[in-house]
């Protein structure tokens, strides 16, 4: 009897989110016809790719009760490193991209190591890492070039960001592949089930023989790797390595993941929820931009959305627990 009620709950959840998504889409397209223009849809899809990849990477980490808000500035730092290596260092394009991704993975590893070995609160440590990375991004950009924004336009990157494969832009293809991989790993493999177990009850996981610390460090490292991929994407999509690229990325991505039903308590949530969350956040952001809403106002809405979403989930959970 209990499981039946829970199952109904989950279906209604995703349906409500889908309804909200369609409502928002309809609202914005009615308010401004330009919203459905082909140009705008393709811009929206491009923005979605970046937030999407990051939110997808954040999903297994948050399911396992981890949290990382430094990935935004990690993207800034890696984009600057890649741009510097390519322009000033004169390295091969692919080599500089790979080194950038490796640097980001290393940062993720350090995050995970410090959090797990010292039992720190994840958000506070990543707050510190965020500050250090921002400063490092500025320092590196300033030392090697005199600007904070380094041009990195190459033919290959341009090809990647504009060509389409079967009418789908290549970056979107990357996102679809990621969604497929994440969905498969999280729901069909033992690794995925281990992640859910660690999030639901770490002590039980430990008693079951799962090496909780090792897996969590791996998840943080993986988030670093995803941030590296995000750095590659942002350099490909914008053509510059800038020290301020990713500083505003943390809040919308976090909102997208929380919207999708990944509970902060860990142990529940799915990739589809995150996907809908990404769509909703992108629609809101893009819709507001089309309406010429200034950027700080958008930040306000993002904060409001975050509070409302989490409040709604908490109230809903409390009502479920009201026995």
């Amino acid at each position: 009897m209990q499981t039946k009620i829970k199952k109904r709950f989950k279906l209604t959840d995703t349906y409500i989110l889908l309804i909200i998504l369609f409502a928002l889409f309809a609202f914005f397209s009615l308010v401004n016809r330009q919203f459905i223009a082909y140009n705008n849809i393709s811009t929206m899809l491009k923005n979605m790719v970046l937030t999407g990849v990051l939110a997808l990477g954040l999903t297994p980490l948050m399911i396992a009760r981890g949290l990382d808000i430094s990935f935004g500035n990690s993207i800034s730092f890696t984009s600057v490193v890649m741009a510097v290596l390519f322009t000033v260092g004169g390295l091969n394009l692919w080599l500089s991209l790979v080194i950038g991704v490796l640097v980001a993975t290393l940062i993720g590893f350090i995050n995970g190591l410090l959090i797990e070995k010292f039992d720190l609160i994840p958000i506070i440590l990543t707050l510190g890492t965020m500050a250090i990375l921002q400063a490092l991004a500025l320092v590196v950009a300033n030392t090697f070039t005199q600007t904070y924004s380094i041009l990195m336009l190459t033919d290959q990157l341009y090809y990647f960001s504009t060509r389409t494969f079967l009418k789908i832009p290549l970056p979107l293809f990357v996102l679809i592949v990621f969604v497929a991989i994440f969905w498969f790993v999280l729901s069909k493999t033992k690794v995925g089930r281990t992640i859910y177990l660690i999030g639901a009850n770490p002590k039980v996981a430990y008693l079951c023989g799962v090496k909780v610390t090792k897996v969590k460090i791996l998840l943080y490292t993986f988030m670093g790797f995803i941030a590296g991929i995000g750095g590659v994407l942002i350099v490909a999509l914008t053509g510059v390595g800038m020290s301020y690229h990713g500083s505003k990325l943390a809040l919308p991505t976090l909102s997208a993941v929380l919207l999708g039903g990944i509970s902060l308590m860990g142990g529940s949530g799915s990739v589809w929820g995150t996907l809908i969350g990404i769509l909703i956040v992108t629609v809101i952001f893009n819709g507001l931009s089309v309406l010429n809403v200034p950027s700080y106002f958008i930040q306000l809405f993002q904060g409001l959305a975050l509070i409302t979403i989490v409040a709604a989930y908490e109230i809903r959970n409390k009502r479920a627990l009201a026995f």
Binding site: F118, I124, T129, L254, L300
Partner: protein, 331 residues
């Protein structure tokens, strides 16, 4: 036997924490002064000390408020935005046409703005039950957006008494803001040490189940701590706008980080329930002098944020080691 002497002294001023971080902090501070003065003798000049003191008090006051929140085991990352909103409220009040608004009213308005936002934070954390980090992250974004919205044109303040509030000196040497800081620090210390509310705050952080069973209203106390944190941030906003004589949307951007670092450095355990305000005083001194010392030692500006981030990380590592050691010793 050296420990016993330390314990006796500390016992008289803060019996809550026998293994306080304060002696270590004082040693670190002395060391830091030594290094910076060696790198640039101007560091210990009277003018420099005065300028350091005048600037660090804002962070200090806000750190005092944030301490109560962290002691109960919550976080408040929105204090920077609260500062911005209250600064803009005060500046705008001086700019509506030709009406003359008396100084106490403006001060009250600033504190009220901060208290209101603190109340919103408290409401969301206690009644709705959202995690305090996510709540204050959202509040940070919302009120930063509001601050930018109403603060696009900088609002100038030409009212002399208001400006001297932040820039004045008594006895020609001690900045007025330092006096405010010490007064607020003492006031909060007395509350935390001698009132039931203060003891409740420590108890909730140390063991919330025991507190609940002992009859402490966790929701009410937590709510009040958020109000205190909001009020101190409001005071910070008043002082900053009075020091700079104008208010802008960017005020307070990034402050929450520095104040959190001060609190963690002060030995306020992030798990809640441990920490004293004496540590906050010394930690404020340390962090206030670091930026100044680094720029006098010709370190590039970008490294300053990296330094503060590094300090935060080291501070939380030390904090968690002490938590673990305490747990081991208890077991």
């Amino acid at each position: 036997m050296n420990k016993k002497k330390k314990n006796d002294f500390l016992n008289t001023i803060n019996p809550f924490n026998k293994n306080s971080m304060t002696p270590t902090l004082l040693i670190v501070y002395a060391f830091m002064i030594l290094i910076f003065s060696l790198l640039n003798p101007l560091f210990v000049s009277i003018a420099n000390i005065k300028s350091i003191m005048a600037n660090l008090t804002i962070s200090g006051i806000m750190a005092v408020g944030l301490t109560t929140v962290i002691l109960t085991g919550n976080f408040d990352i929105s204090v920077g935005s609260i500062l911005g909103v209250s600064a803009i409220v005060c500046a705008k009040l001086y700019n509506i046409g030709n009406t003359y608004i008396p100084l106490p009213v403006v001060i009250l308005a600033g504190i009220a703005a901060g208290t209101a936002i603190g109340a919103i934070n408290g409401f969301l954390v206690t009644v709705v039950g959202i995690n305090s980090i996510i709540t204050t992250l959202g509040t940070l974004a919302v009120f930063r957006g509001l601050a930018f919205l109403y603060g696009t044109e900088t609002a100038q303040i030409y009212y002399k008494p208001y400006v001297t509030m932040g820039r004045g000196y008594i006895f020609k040497d001690i900045p007025l803001t330092m006096v405010y800081f010490i007064v607020i620090l003492l006031f909060m210390y007395l509350i935390l040490r001698f009132t039931r509310f203060g003891r409740n705050v420590y108890q909730i952080g140390a063991n919330s189940q025991a507190a609940r069973l002992a009859g402490v209203s966790i929701k009410k106390t937590t709510f009040y701590t958020f109000i205190i944190s909001g009020a101190t941030a409001g005071i910070g906003g008043i002082l900053l706008s009075s020091q700079l004589a104008f208010a802008q949307g960017e005020f307070g951007l990034g402050y929450e980080f520095k104040i959190l670092t001060i609190c963690v450095l002060a030995g306020i355990s992030l798990a809640g329930g441990r920490g004293t305000l004496v540590g906050v005083l010394v930690a404020t001194l340390i962090l206030g002098s670091i930026a100044n010392g680094l720029s006098l030692s010709k370190v590039p500006i970008e490294w300053r944020d990296a330094f503060e981030g590094l300090i935060l990380i080291i501070a939380i590592m030390v904090d968690s080691i002490r938590v673990r050691r305490r747990a081991l010793l208890r077991a």
